[in-house]
Symmetry: D3
Subunit: 151 residues, 6 copies
């Protein structure tokens, strides 16, 4: 399950818990490539994902610093799991899925976001933070605590 | 993997072969509900799917005459697999997925259509047939043979 | 608030209650034009909407047998209220809105469907009914009772 | 320029006049396949397109009773021209374009609908007619006259 | 009516004039949060909106430096008004609407852009300015004058 | 055929070869306006397009430093050619097309991306490069060589 998780939201949590029921093992791959464009540094994003994953037995967290297909080969993973909230979300996911199928025979499974978290995205959470607001309701408890400490 | 398969296309074949690699067992559930609006009768649609599934060890075919959630309970299935070709395709799939999650805790996994078959749909195949054309290039070999016999 | 309400769902109820807070008076306009393509006859659809509207002081129900712009002129209404669940939903609503603005200077206000009912549509409810299922969870209580009686 | 033109609208007129400036010769191909699902019979749809095309020197009209690729071969045409009004419109056009490229090496050129006619579609015109309304503002003058006669 | 108005366009003007007919009082809330990513500084964007709003009796302009829900509470506003031009536009608006409904019980009303201004966006206006072009046709008269002065 | 070509991909190549069959002369207009936001400098992007265009007799390459409508007037061009891969792609293209029709009577022709290259975009190529990957399979041979040299 690749992503930048900037930050890890309840939307990601929805997908990771569902993926953990579908697959024997799930790895949250926190992307390090676009680091400088991220709101939270890679170490914080990693720690957030780790804090959330702790409660799920078959979920691990790792930093992904290169291509997804290389990450998958190194970790013996064959399937990428992604969530999608809308038609244009899906279009972007679909293009990446076709590229990863082409680059390294990686299959991509898309889970439609659950009703209750369908509007939550890292982008919206960051826009709340930039406006000085409280986004604790849109992130898992451990992430909320880490955000509070940072302030 | 529910659908009306009216008829079974290379697009369905793309999804079923990929699903057969992802899951230990796959059931193609041929919908009988909207039968009268279908171009091919339920028995033909069933036979088409069966002819295709024969070559895949872990794929079965069954008629689904009620709700998907009831079919899943009766067949001990927990995941619905569906393909999507476009943003508006995904929106329709997403609504059905949320309904099935609500009706019976069924998870839905969406696979983006592969490049080569991304434009193939049962609707387009039927429009070719109605125009008196040859749609054999868009359906698996066994379906092409069954179509030819029908003429 | 025009529609065919075939049948009236919790999605419609979401929109009508929100519209009743926005505007001093709301009229549910049950469309009679496409009657023969509807699952429920116009009198049933009217009765369903009326049963739901009863609990809202500023909401009335009426049959609309011609154009929306004529209905609006006859009822001194200036604004059409519609819900939208997705991008392609909005595109269809937008085209109708522009037409009604052109035909009769009618303004159209679009309310995005609430999270909990975002997947509910009359189409999905009818597909449940056709499959012999129980759609009571997706319609207001009075509509569920009327559906049960009909069986 | 293939279509069912049921009826020919100002949206079609927008595309045909622009196509007539782009290409040396344009043929309006009125589809006869889905005839029974059409509001207007094929002869009326043909006559409507002919009445409109009269004023354009390099535009002809013909009935298309089979596949577009066969029509193109018979008429020495290499390019299909279609209009699109929205994202989901484009998705449908794109799938057909890929199919026609595959079936007979036909190129498809898509023109985005002009601002003033972006909401006009045959579907909306028919919904106005069914509601007993006056759709004359959304069709070319000759089509309006033919509609009036029919009443 | 929240936005960054970078700059205020005829598209915004379309929405604000229609909102002014729908509601007894309209406040244009010029967002100060993403200030550094904006082409025009907050004071210019405020002045542009004020210059336009002058001619409308029931429209005021204010700077919004925090969350929309806080702004609404401080100004006794209960409804956010936004325009949408396309399906993907609507998807973004819908997610924000659901968030604001959740954060502070704010209702969001979406008006589909009018035909004549449906392609105008601040993004397109800025791309014209960056290319050294004249975007005066896409902004209200007072904004055009302020742009000219700035050069 | 305007674009930033950052870098020139097989998706662009698909469109330019098809445009070269449709029109007597095609000019690839490499945009210089958003230069500083580009991964490759304008001279490299120009050289890439030129290296690809060499093999096509009726295709030229030029830098576009102002508005497309001014470029078209200066080069006696009347039609802009653009590719689109998805519904949201089309929506963005459509808005630009309407603007260019309004600014300078420029017609825009949209070609749907071919199946095999439908997922390729400059954005995806850059994301591969940023991840340290090999994107040579998604760009024409001459561009691949220029990329390799740059490393």
């Amino acid at each position: 399950m690749p992503g930048s998780f900037d930050p890890f939201t309840l939307g990601h949590w929805d997908i990771v818990t569902r993926a953990a029921r579908l697959f024997s093992e799930v790895i949250i791959a926190v992307g390090a490539n676009d680091a400088k464009q991220c709101h939270f540094p890679i170490q914080t994003r990693l720690a957030m994902a780790q804090a959330c994953a702790q409660s799920l037995d078959n979920v691990q967290v790792a930093i992904m610093s290169g291509l997804l297909v290389d990450f998958c080969r190194d970790h013996d993973a064959m399937v990428a799991v992604r969530g999608a909230r809308s038609g244009s979300d899906f279009e972007a996911e679909s293009a990446m899925a076709l590229m990863n199928a082409d680059l390294g025979a990686i299959e991509t499974v898309i889970l439609p976001a659950s009703s209750a978290v369908g509007f939550i995205s890292s982008t919206l959470v960051r826009s709340i933070l930039r406006a000085g607001g409280d986004a604790y309701g849109y992130v898992p408890e451990p992430v909320a605590q880490m955000m509070q400490k940072e302030l």
